[in-house]
Symmetry: C2
Subunit: 396 residues, 2 copies
């Protein structure tokens, strides 16, 4: 069974579980604006003309697409019915929905999860117009719960790909730590990592301009920024934020090193204290993570470890789900800030994959941010890989 | 000046010309759903949190984005003002719009052009809510005319990139024609072309599953389909539809070959007649193309050449604009079918780039489709490259 077939079957089960009659993904010219749900429904392929991909809780799988794209979609063996048209989807779509007579039609619109928000405003208006005069125009609901569950619950194949992405990321980190010398710029280090990515034939979990982030010392701008011409010096903390994509699934990991001064054999006490604080925040959060826990509560645990230690709180969420993209949407380990919407109020589920990534600045030395990737089992959250437990010491 | 700076300056001029006060691109988590306008505003970069990119007809260029992404955007030197926030964009966006006091706010929503339709329904609703209680909530208009003009009018840098993409495409075609032997499958031929693409370090103008399309003989499914295990035989027409991406700009070209039977020195007369009909349709269309012409009229010229010769009309548009994507949106050389919306009614403009691609089937032999890429100058439409004037003969 292909991964697409596996995820579509999973979606049908989720529709049953959520008692939602129909999920409709309504798109066009997806090379221009691509609904993120398509990755699960048709893989990397694109659809040119107005297309409707319909799944129902009774197991129907129907694609309504332009005739010239019928053969390609049929060959995927995902949809049992592939209906084609030449000039307008209007009647075929209306008739198909009328035949299925759903009580709810879940469409891809969501304030809280961008990955459930592929329906553009103009396409929403078109759909309403196509359904005018039927009872179905008023039965549109958000597909966010369906998509959250489907994206969140990683199948064994998906988990294996993420694990492999993380393993490769760790190997690249180890080689990079051995490569670093005092006087190199952040850009030199990032280029070295890019070359290793080519050797491993892996892609970027987010655009290469900011991937990896390499921050050396206290003056390097932290955040979603690319590496700069700043040079690595003794006494610098070096912070990395790096993620790759292996067979369409991502890793997302932060690591921290310290460049020893001439007479040092360990990092200064304030650097060690910062590191331990972040490490403690991660471990305490991870221990509290289990199916049914609320994302916001996990964020609070970590945030309080940081602020109780006298550091300012980090201006972002503790962690996000990880999957086909680095920020995979759905339940978030986050504070209740408006920009995060309702996602921090959602519950953790088995088979979800999260990052845990608190951070703090150590004045005069640099930024400490660690990021570990974990998956939720019936026993709680497990690391995919050995987490960073000690600051990496670079002799320069 | 970077291409992004060049295109943003062009957009400001277009706002003046169209007497539109403000163009607002409103996005979030663009790794999940990416507004196509971003390519012109921030290149390949992504924005994580709710972000507003504002251009005005008086030349203001303002970005309102999450604080962690300020440095990256500032370094692009595209926006004169980069305003950052931590928790919510609401007040900063509202205050900035109030300060600028626009009579119209063009937002990225469009029934007719997907590339002007990056605003999702939920983001549209958010924006309306943020502006509630101000006069601006009712001043939203479609940015389609702005985006059509900006995407359509290719700068010299953009035209040069397209020209280079086309040149590489033609070289790959020539090598492929020399490679083909009777008994090879369509997939073998496509793989050979993929390997050449790697040698040239170019990307795909559309997904590789269907790129190139290779159709050998009368039984190969034509349309947006990938190559199959069908074997090349003597007496087959072989049809190719192939496009690459060079420095983010695309080619899109169709070519046709014929595999000679043992005793043949030229293609059968019905194959030649089909070829000449398509070639004539292209040339007559091209001659009619000039600034101010209506796309639909051009489509009709070609369509009538085909149907007047007794072939059925092709079930797609004659040609589309070409740019950062193969189907670049805006004015279309197309019939007035509902799925094409208003785009066939639009006028051609100088510096636009179009494909011309009629086609027809020759019973028992296969499909003849030619596709040439042209650009509009003050003198009319010019080919980027020598068009295919004779059917390519393959000795097998």
């Amino acid at each position: 069974m292909s991964l697409t077939q596996e995820k579509v079957n999973q979606a049908v089960e989720i529709l049953k579980e959520q008692k939602t009659d129909m999920w409709l993904t309504f798109v066009r010219e997806t090379s221009g604006v691509r609904d993120p749900a398509l990755d699960f429904l048709i893989g990397a392929a694109d659809l040119t003309w107005h297309s409707a991909l319909i799944l129902t809780s009774t197991g129907e799988k129907i694609a309504i697409i332009g005739n010239l794209e019928k053969d390609g979609i049929q060959r995927m063996n995902v949809f049992d019915e592939v209906l084609g048209y030449d000039k307008s989807i209007r009647n075929l779509l209306r008739d198909t929905i009328t035949r299925l007579n759903p009580q709810q039609i879940a469409v891809n619109t969501s304030r809280d999860n961008v990955h459930a928000d592929g329906l553009t405003h103009a396409m929403y208006e078109s759909l309403k117009e196509y359904l005018e005069g039927t009872p179905y125009a008023d039965r549109l609901v958000s597909a966010e719960p369906v998509i959250n569950a489907m994206r969140g619950r990683k199948t064994p194949v998906e988990q294996a790909r993420i694990r492999k992405a993380i393993e490769i990321t760790e190997e690249i980190f180890q080689k990079t730590f051995a490569f670093i010398k005092v006087g190199m710029t952040e850009i030199t280090v990032a280029n070295y990592m890019h070359n290793l990515m080519k050797e491993y034939s892996v892609g970027f979990a987010w655009p290469e301009e900011n991937n990896p982030a390499v921050n050396s010392g206290p003056n390097s701008p932290v955040g979603h920024n690319g590496p700069t011409e700043i040079k690595i010096e003794r006494g610098h903390i070096i912070h990395f934020d790096f993620g790759i994509k292996y067979e369409e699934y991502c890793s997302d990991i932060q690591r921290v090193a310290y460049v020893l001064r001439e007479n040092e054999t360990e990092a200064p006490i304030e650097v060690q204290r910062g590191f331990l604080t972040v490490r403690t925040a991660i471990e305490q959060s991870r221990k509290a993570m289990k199916a049914g826990a609320i994302g916001n509560h996990i964020d609070t645990i970590s945030r309080e470890v940081i602020t109780d230690s006298g550091y300012p709180e980090y201006p972002y969420a503790l962690g996000h789900q990880l999957g086909r993209v680095a920020h995979d949407g759905g339940a978030l380990l986050g504070p209740l800030w408006e920009k995060y919407g309702d996602s921090p109020n959602q519950k953790l589920e088995i088979d979800q994959v999260y990052t845990i990534e608190p951070g703090l600045a150590v004045p005069n030395y640099g930024y400490i941010g660690l990021e570990e990737d974990v998956f939720i089992t019936s026993k709680g959250a497990e690391y995919f890989f050995e987490p960073q437990k000690e600051i990496i010491l670079i002799k320069g």
